[in-house]
């Protein structure tokens, strides 16, 4: 009986513990050897778990980003390459490498320090097969006096599938961006002895062989869990269309059901996953920049008609194609996963395809130089600004003393506002409430002709790369020549009034004289 009570108490305790546990802890939950934490110089941090699977190889999970001076943000529940589809131009052979062969297990190459020259090798089971290194992005921030390239964490492994060696890569940037990628190297796979076929090229030094052109289609599966809840993410497509008047306006469609989308270069469509329905909530932007090639073979593979999919998370929907081979109770490809389910208050999974068409060149002999493909996911409204990323001290510029000014309507005005900056930054000026007719350029030069009288309180702002200063001065615009004419007419008016007053006085005086004469006459009468 005591044992039963104890057991019940333990169960109750466990239940209560689970009850008070937050929906998602603010850090990954995995063993120490499966966890990767990278803290950058500016304090930004990426934190995640990793594992290597037989099929997909590298699978990342519980991915968190902490901005400089910010709080950890849960970004992804899991991320992986979900298919590597290769179609040859002669259409004789198509490979689905992830499901036909796999990128892990025996296909995963052991790495040496030579393969990971600036990094650290991590073991997959008992052999080194994952390279972890810190690098710098090609981009960052540039001001007139400084430049900062964004630091990044790169993880990669290499899988040998047939003649190809695929470098599966994930890069996490200090500014919160993420970049999955695949580098294709190794050697050309397929050739033909019929050199006159139009499906490839004969390369130098080997006149009897036609090396076949082919397309690599990379599909990534990204289970977004932005923020506290896994089930409130929102999917939106944004377009920037040119209007008839030449302006370009932003149009946003928020989708309520599962979607299969195509790139739309003319309308410049991009995709966003938001933390919740608030438009200014944290989000990740996916721009299909690397879409200069687009594979399509809808007769045999209808899913190839689309580039971007959003589905409700389902553990048995693992592979973009040939899914049923390993999940017989589930549908077979990603287009079939898109079956009209509501995505409101659901856990969302994003699938993105990038294509690369490979035309053999002589330099591909005997071993190919790596050609890289991938895409960038950029944070939006995740950081509190870029200052912390720049990591540099800055002194705000100071506006030179301003004095009140007076001009007349119609004057030709040329005036300069100046400022100093101890950092010698390039400065730009703006002004508010200038008298009508005047404008100021970014160098602080004011010019134009005032068009209306008044006393204006002009606000001037000067900005350097990071800070700004403001000051005000009064600008009195008085009347010009027409106003002076009006002043003359006032004098004339006064003169007339004076004359009238004098006339009235004379009339009044005359009346009094007449009255006096009448009084005298009456008295004499």
């Amino acid at each position: 009986m005591t044992i039963v009570k104890l057991s019940l108490s333990l169960i109750l305790l466990c239940w209560l513990t689970l009850l008070v546990q937050p929906a998602s802890a603010a850090e990954p939950t995995c063993a120490a050897d499966a966890r990767i934490t990278e803290v950058f110089d500016n304090g930004a941090t990426w934190d995640m778990c990793w594992e290597s699977r037989i099929r997909e190889n590298l699978v990342l999970s519980d991915v968190y980003y902490t901005p400089p001076d910010g709080e950890p943000l849960r970004v992804l529940s899991s991320a992986r390459l979900s298919q590597l589809h290769v179609a040859y131009d002669d259409s004789d052979v198509t490979y689905n490498d992830v499901t036909q062969y796999g990128l892990g297990g025996g296909y995963l190459l052991s790495l040496t320090p030579q393969d990971c020259p600036q990094g650290t090798l991590l073991d997959v089971q008992t052999r080194p097969a994952l390279c972890r290194w810190r690098t710098k992005a090609d981009t960052g921030y540039r001001t007139s006096t400084s430049s900062q390239k964004t630091q990044s964490l790169n993880l990669f492994s290499v899988s040998q599938v047939g003649a190809y060696a695929y470098i599966v890569s994930w890069t996490f940037y200090a500014n919160g961006a993420m970049e999955p990628g695949v580098g294709a190297t190794g050697a050309l796979q397929r050739s033909s002895d019929t050199t006159e076929l139009p499906f490839g090229r004969v390369l130098q030094g080997d006149p009897d062989t036609l090396w076949l052109s082919h397309t690599h289609n990379y599909y990534w599966r990204l289970d977004f869990d932005l923020g506290q809840s896994a089930t409130d993410d929102v999917f939106a497509e944004t377009r920037y269309e040119l209007a008839a008047d030449g302006t370009r306006s932003r149009q946003v469609d928020v989708y309520k059901t599962e979607q299969a989308r195509r790139i739309d270069p003319a309308r410049q469509a991009v995709w966003e996953i938001h933390e919740n329905a608030q438009p200014d909530s944290a989000a990740y932007l996916i721009e299909p920049v690397r879409s200069g090639h687009r594979f399509e073979r809808s007769e045999v593979e209808p899913y190839s008609d689309y580039d971007f999919f959003v589905t409700v998370a389902n553990d048995c929907e693992r592979f973009a194609s040939q899914n049923a081979r390993f999940n017989p109770d589930c549908l077979n490809n990603v287009l079939q996963f898109v079956d009209g389910q509501s995505i409101e208050n659901q856990d969302l999974v994003v699938w993105h395809r990038v294509s690369f068409h490979h035309v053999p060149r002589s330099e591909d002999q005997r071993h190919m130089h790596t050609h890289w493909d991938g895409f960038m996911m950029k944070p939006r409204n995740v950081l509190a600004g870029t200052s912390a990323l720049l990591g540099q001290p800055n002194t705000a510029p100071v506006i030179d003393p301003l004095t009140p000014r007076t001009n007349k309507v119609g004057d030709s005005v040329h005036a300069d506002i100046s400022a100093s900056d101890t950092d010698d930054d390039v400065l730009s000026f703006t002004a508010d409430s200038l008298p009508p007719g005047l404008s100021m350029n970014s160098q602080g030069h004011i010019h134009g002709e005032p068009t209306a009288t008044g006393n204006y309180s002009v606000s001037v702002t000067v900005r350097d790369d990071l800070d700004q200063s403001s000051d005000t001065f009064s600008w009195n615009i008085t009347g010009s020549e027409p106003a002076r004419k009006r002043s003359g007419s006032m004098n004339l008016h006064g003169l007339v009034t004076l004359c009238l007053l004098v006339l009235l006085r004379y009339i009044s005086q005359g009346a009094r004289i007449v009255a006096r004469h009448q009084t005298v006459a009456n008295a004499q009468g």
């Binding site: 921030y141 030449g246 370009r248 991009v270 995740v382 030069h445 010019h447």
Partner: protein, 447 residues
């Protein structure tokens, strides 16, 4: 339109003779063992200012050598109109001779279209004594000779236009590399050597690793900072790139055109960047370079095959990227050595209500030294030059002529907190890939 002839032949005189095929392969075999060891150690040699065979008038002569034996040599200058210009560019693959690749490469125009405006603002504005009124006619090039009104710029026009750009002078804070420049423009070029990701890997053979060499210049336009850069990789690739950073200063309260940020930040006006590069190839031997267009259209009638179609481009023309046919272009010398421009990074199509050329991604024109800018080209009527690509591309023959390649890309700038107060760099880049430049990878032993 008649044009001045260019003196490319003068530059060609300095090109080393290409080695005969067999000799080159033998040389490759002999020296591979030596430089392969160097490749494996991952070392590199610093770039240096040197006296090269080319005439680098008003430019600095540069050479960068890698540990593999690969090297680049070129002239570099920062132009007050358009930033970095590289010219007389030569590449030496490991075991090969130094061979000419480019006569000249620079930005040909940068359009910045604020979304609340009806017209894009050219960021490259060379001085112009005369200006043609902006046209809204998309077929302007057809009418140029008949009806164009000219007007003289006023003082205010000149003042507001800020005719030339002021190159950024790099400091330790802004250049994490070597600061270079011509005597008249010191510290206007930043040279950086970078470690690339894996160059090649096969099975359990050790990875080949490589480096690249980047030259960059920057200029300010209003509060914006534009960086134009060209990266030269150890294996012969060229990657031109332009990026936008600096400070966003344009605002609009209309949310159709501006991004709303938390107060007190004013709503920031969105913009589209359209960057056009001008490339004059000068490939390998004295033979005239040719342009080929590659397409791989899907043939559903024959089992979804994709036959390769190679079309020579023999007259001046404007072309679009065709994503479905995997379109690309090869510039090729008479020797067969070439470079391939693969528009992989071209995900968006620019559209313009006023400029016909800006409806396209690619243009090919016949070389004329006065045709330098896709828009606002110096309108020197006496030289019979046009005002931009819509004038340059008028059907002239490219046969036995030096072709000029104009390639454009675009991206949108939709600002968020991550862009305040400094814009997170918005970059546009593409690759020029050696294509049958060498008979095989010059980085590996031929077995």
């Amino acid at each position: 339109m008649s044009r001045d002839t260019d003196s490319l032949s003068r530059q060609r005189a300095f090109v080393h003779n290409r080695w005969p095929e067999r000799t080159r392969l033998s040389a490759v075999r002999l020296i591979h063992a030596g430089f392969l060891l160097l490749v494996l150690t991952g070392g590199s040699f610093a770039s240096s200012v040197f006296a090269q065979q080319n005439d680098c008038t008003n430019a600095v002569a540069l050479q960068h050598s890698f540990s593999s034996g690969a090297s680049w040599s070129l002239c570099a200058a920062v132009n007050n109109d358009h930033g970095l210009t590289v010219s007389s560019v030569y590449y030496r693959a490991p075991g090969d001779s130094s061979r000419s690749v480019l006569a000249e490469l620079h930005l040909g125009q940068l359009l910045l279209h604020y979304h609340d405006a009806t017209e894009a603002e050219p960021q490259i504005r060379p001085p112009q004594p005369l200006r043609i009124q902006p046209s809204i006619n998309a077929t302007r090039q057809l009418e140029l000779s008949t009806a164009q009104e000219l007007r003289v710029l006023t003082d205010d026009d000149l003042q507001d236009d800020a005719q030339t750009i002021e190159p950024v002078r790099f400091t330790e804070r802004s250049c994490n590399g070597e600061r270079l420049g011509a005597d008249s423009q010191p510290d206007t070029i930043c040279a950086i050597t970078k470690n690339n990701r894996t160059l090649a890997k096969y099975a359990q053979r050790p990875s080949l690793n490589s480096q690249s060499w980047e030259l960059a210049s920057a200029f300010a336009r209003d509060a914006l900072i534009w960086t134009s850069a060209v990266t030269f990789t150890e294996d012969g690739q060229i990657r031109p790139a332009v990026s936008l950073s600096g400070r966003a200063s344009r605002s609009n309260t209309d949310t159709r055109y501006a991004a709303t940020l938390p107060l007190p930040i004013d709503p920031l006006t969105r913009a589209t960047v359209f960057a056009t590069w001008r490339m004059v190839f000068n490939l390998d031997t004295d033979a005239a370079d040719k342009i080929e267009q590659f397409d791989f259209p899907l043939d559903t009638q024959s089992g979804n095959r994709r036959p390769m179609q190679v079309s020579p481009i023999i007259t001046e023309t404007l072309r679009r990227v065709d994503r479905q046919t995997f379109r690309g272009w090869r510039m090729v010398d008479g020797s067969g050595a070439g470079y391939y421009l693969d528009p992989s990074n071209n995900g968006f199509s620019y559209s313009s209500r006023s400029e016909n050329w800006a409806q396209f991604d690619m243009a090919f024109s016949r070389l004329a030294t006065c045709e330098r800018y896709a828009l606002l080209n110096i309108n020197d009527v006496s030289n019979n030059c046009g005002t931009g690509l819509d004038d340059f591309v008028n059907g002239e023959s490219l046969i036995d002529a030096v072709p000029v390649v104009w390639y454009s890309q675009m991206r949108n700038m939709d600002l968020t907190l991550e862009d305040w107060p400094v814009i997170s760099e918005l970059a546009l880049s593409f690759d020029l890939l050696p294509f049958d430049w060498t008979a095989s990878s010059p980085f590996e032993l031929i077995e």
